[in-house]
């Protein structure tokens, strides 16, 4: 650890920070002052320059112009190591913990002065003493792989404190957390700020978190600082207006029609979970035509396994899936015949062949169809025509139809997969975390498409870790915990506090 650092939180200020990549200006004359001990939010759409700004501050990029003051003094940050030396630390959106190491091992090895030979007895004593001073705890002896997302995020923050960092940049720290986990983690972070231990700069696009936890906010749009102020003086719509500029946000789609007959049902389904140690047990789950059934839950409580059961990736030990009253084993032929479509989470990895082209990926459902029969020789022309139509109507931004789909941004991969899955008859649609990591305009558009599919008569099963999303879209809400459905309610009668208690298994 670095003893020459001042105790307590430090302030950071950027002055006329500008960053150009060739002819493209990612950051244009941005000056932000973050007072010591404050909780500062950095708002902006994807591509607004938030990441560029913090990467300049952390020394990953070298700003084309402008400078930075740390604790009132001019600071040169040629690389991340120099930033760490100044007491600056960053918690990344994706975890940087090593999954197979225990929490204690992760902490000790992250120290630049980790001893050559580790005396675990002494290190454990030091770690226990450190943890005793912290407002929240994480089990130290389990491999990080076994921790829940919220615990991992807490451990990331603890790691920064353990390393003696006094200014923390949090890059969308709650994107993998449930609302209750997010509130808990941010509450602790806020308490550390109030105690004068640390200063925090949090990148986010969730207004709720800004209002609830931040003192001040700065808003970036297209590389420029377009607004700043005290959170207390700003409303959500003020912030949205600054963030979006003149761009219109799609309104939540209206809900029309009523639920029909049961199209998808699971009964007495049993399967092993990913670790092979626990069971997934769904006694009864039914989805009707023309309704959205939302499954809320903290990640790692069996939602991923349930998705895999429904897509046929995970064998059932007992029980059955029926679609429209007949048994269903998720073969390609069955899915086609009964019009069952899927939008798994992380579609680039779970629903695409990343290095194949956009046109080929869009053609996966239909490339071997010729009218009602199948074909042996493919028709490149028809595949391209279909892809071109769908790319246009779903507004997929791609350089060309022949570009590998992995080259697209997350929102555009999601649109391309949604285009494929929503084309033709859709009677059952199974979705998992459709808006993970997308920006506000992409989110509202994708939710509108899901609602449109429901209104057109599809039965939709929506698994999401984002409770707001569940509440916005669902007709009925189920809560999954420990591999079981533990609560059911209608969307109208549900309240987040009750759902949160069931999600946490305390009901």
């Amino acid at each position: 650890m670095t003893p020459e650092l001042p105790e307590g939180a430090i302030g950071v200020e950027t002055l006329h920070m500008t960053m150009r990549f060739g002819g493209f200006t990612a950051l244009d004359d941005v000056s932000i002052r973050i007072a010591p001990g404050s909780f500062h939010a950095l708002l902006g759409e994807n591509g607004a320059g938030k990441s560029t700004l913090v990467k300049c501050m952390m020394g990953f990029y070298h700003a084309t112009a402008g400078e930075m003051l740390v604790a009132g003094r001019e600071a040169r940050v040629p690389d991340p190591r120099a930033a760490h030396g100044l007491g600056l630390g960053m918690v990344y959106q994706h975890f940087t913990l090593v999954p197979s190491l225990t929490a204690a091992e992760n902490l000790v090895i992250s120290r630049p002065d980790a001893p050559r030979i580790i005396d675990w007895r002494a290190e454990r004593a030091a770690l226990d003493a450190f943890m005793a001073r912290m407002p929240f705890q994480v089990p130290l002896d389990q491999p990080v792989r076994a921790l829940a997302a919220g615990e991992k995020q807490k451990l990331e923050i603890l790691k920064q404190l353990y390393l003696g960092r006094r200014f923390l940049i949090l890059d969308e720290p709650t994107s993998v957390l449930t609302p209750s986990e997010a509130d808990e983690v941010l509450g602790h972070v806020r308490a550390l700020c109030e105690a004068g231990e640390i200063t925090v700069l949090m990148i986010t696009h969730k207004f709720r978190e800004v209002t609830a936890f931040a003192d001040e906010v700065s808003v970036l749009r297209r590389g420029r600082l377009v607004g700043a102020g005290r959170v207390a003086d700003l409303s959500h719509s003020d912030m949205a207006a600054m963030m979006m500029g003149d761009a219109a946000i799609a309104e939540p789609a209206p809900r029309t029609g009523t639920a029909g007959g049961i199209v998808l049902s699971l009964s007495q389904a049993r399967a092993r979970d990913r670790s092979g140690l626990k069971d997934i047990a769904i006694d009864a789950l039914q989805v009707r035509a023309g309704e959205i059934v939302g499954i809320a839950g903290i990640s790692g409580n069996g939602q991923m396994e349930l998705m895999e059961i429904l897509t046929g990736q995970r064998p059932l030990e007992s029980g059955a899936i029926t679609v429209k009253g007949t048994p269903y084993t998720a073969s390609r032929a069955e899915a086609r015949e009964r019009a069952v479509r899927y939008l798994p989470e992380e579609p680039l990895h779970n629903a695409c062949a990343p290095r194949m082209s956009v046109a080929e990926n869009i053609g996966f459902r239909s490339f071997d169809l010729n009218g009602s029969g199948t074909r042996f020789w493919l028709s490149g022309r028809e595949m391209r025509k279909l892809a071109a139509d769908l790319v246009a109507s779903f507004k997929v931004k791609t350089a060309s139809l022949d570009a590998p789909i992995a080259a697209l941004s997350g929102g555009n991969v999601q649109r391309a997969v949604l285009a494929r899955e929503l084309t033709g008859d859709v009677d059952v649609l199974v979705i998992s975390n459709p808006c993970f990591g997308l920006d506000v305009s992409a989110v509202s558009e994708i939710r509108a498409r899901i609602m449109a599919a429901r209104n057109a008569g599809a039965g939709v099963l929506l698994m999401s870790e984002d409770l707001d999303e569940i509440l916005e879209l669902s007709d009925r809400v189920l809560v999954m915990s420990e591999g079981r459905i533990v609560h059911e309610t209608t969307a109208a009668a549900s309240d987040p506090a009750t759902l949160g208690r069931h999600m946490g298994g305390h009901a």
Binding site: P80, R81, Y92, H94, F95, T96, L97, V98, P99, S100, L101, E105, V108, I109, S110, P112, A114, P115, R116, I117, I118, D119, W120, R272, R274, S275, G276, R314, P315
Partner: protein, 306 residues
Amino acid sequence: MSDLGIWAVPLAILGGAIRVSTPFLFVSLGEVLTERSGRINLGLEGTLVFGAMSGYAIAFLTGSPWAGVLAAAAAGAFFGLIHGLICSLPRVNDIAIGIAMMILGMGLAFYFGKPFVQPVAPDLPAISFGWWSDLPQVRAALQVNVLFLIGGVAAFALWWMFRATRVGLIIRVVGDSTDAARAMGLRPALIRTLATAAGGAFAGVGGAYLSLYYPGSWNEGLSSGQGLMAVALVIFARWNPIACFGAALLFGGAGALGPALQSVGVSEGYYLYYAAPYVLTLGVLIATSSPRQAMTGAPGELSITK
């Protein structure tokens, strides 16, 4: 010769296990070290054969078997270094390079080893742990080579290194998550290259054991795929060095089954018994695989488990 009856078989298997397991042990420890850093080196079979040749040649030329062992380790480290450096280039697949290195290693060993097929090099020393017994079979079985003991100590040392030293934790970090390693300011390619070189040195020593102790001469048919089976053995041992020690003994014992049965006069299906280690390899891989469950303990960056 006193008659031990059926007890001669387990005794011969025990002795065989100690004798045959040493190359398995060294190659698998080398492979554990390499794989824990996130690379897989299938070329260790070639390294083993080249180590056997160079160890034998140097032992013959200097008259010292230990100089031979050192030469084999150096040759193995060199092969590992080449593998590691090539795999550090972008878009290079470690498995393909491993197969190429395996064939290269064997080819070079046969080419340079031709003049050493006839000469006789000094053997590595062994320690007699059977002095207390009058039975020649017991004495023969407990004739333990020094390299076996060194290998056993090395297994425990590696286990301790992965748990309680900075270098061990760094290897595990690099092997499990390249991103986390980069975020820590480590250089994954460098660490993997060094781990592959060190792993190659282990495999070279395993080769020296083959040519300098058991069977104890250099010829082209010296290795019977121990280098390849050690890769399977590492998976069976779940990347744990101490488990490698046990697995090497098990595989060694299976390899000794044929000669052991022959010694009591069972000669039917002779070649079938010689296939025992290979059958065991297949059996072990099938028994420990599961279609439903991710392999626990596998380093996250390994190209075969990704």
